[in-house]
């Protein structure tokens, strides 16, 4: 059984479109995260949610909006996609924020044309 799952695995879309990436964890964790990994493999945290409350919001454009219907799901919605948004997006979860290992999903490769 997959612990952290993301859909879709690949997403190819045109500039200006709006798209969503879904993430679900079945670990009963309280905290979920979204990361962006660029072509140079830098992994940058975008958001984290703890019990449906946003606790980290890095300097991410407001075109990106996390949505958490419940603590097992943290979806990422992106408006007006730009070329520079092309990257691999990873969802992760941990029992709580802080000193805990994080469990990562398989990633979603987003390509904006």
């Amino acid at each position: 059984d997959t612990a952290v799952s993301q859909t879709p695995k690949y997403l190819v879309t045109q500039m200006g479109n709006d798209k969503s990436i879904k993430c679900e964890q079945n670990l009963g964790h309280d905290t979920m995260y979204w990361y962006k990994q660029d072509s140079k493999k830098f992994l940058k945290i975008m958001f984290s949610y703890n019990n449906k409350e946003l606790i980290i919001n890095e300097t991410v454009p407001n075109r990106f909006s996390p949505k958490s219907p419940d603590k097992a799901h943290l979806n990422l919605h992106i408006n007006s996609l730009e070329l520079g948004d092309s990257a691999v997006y990873f969802c992760a979860s941990s029992p709580a924020s802080g000193v805990f290992e994080q469990f990562f999903g398989p990633g979603t490769r987003l390509t904006v044309l």
Binding site: F42, L43, I45, F90, A92, G98, Q102, F104, G107
Partner: protein, 109 residues
Amino acid sequence: SQQGEEDPQALSIQEGENATMNCSYKTSINNLQWYRQNSGRGLVHLILIRSNEREKHSGRLRVTLDTSKKSSSLLITASRAADTASYFCATDVNNDMRFGAGTRLTVKP
């Protein structure tokens, strides 16, 4: 902004040899973690070492932490071809996890 920096960026060794990767960071940390990423996959947690610990072992992995030098090392002993992956260090600063760019390890059979 990035916190940890791995060194070297890439490492190529023969199966059976040991692999050592280093991580340096800039600010005080609560803990440091090492993760592995196989090509096209998500990161997998390997080991966590707290700021008051100096060394930790897990199977063929050995992690050291020197807070005075703000550095950590990951040693993989008796490497195998299956160890081929990218290895990332991540530092926890006030509950905010920061990753480095990783070391790409290739183990040749």
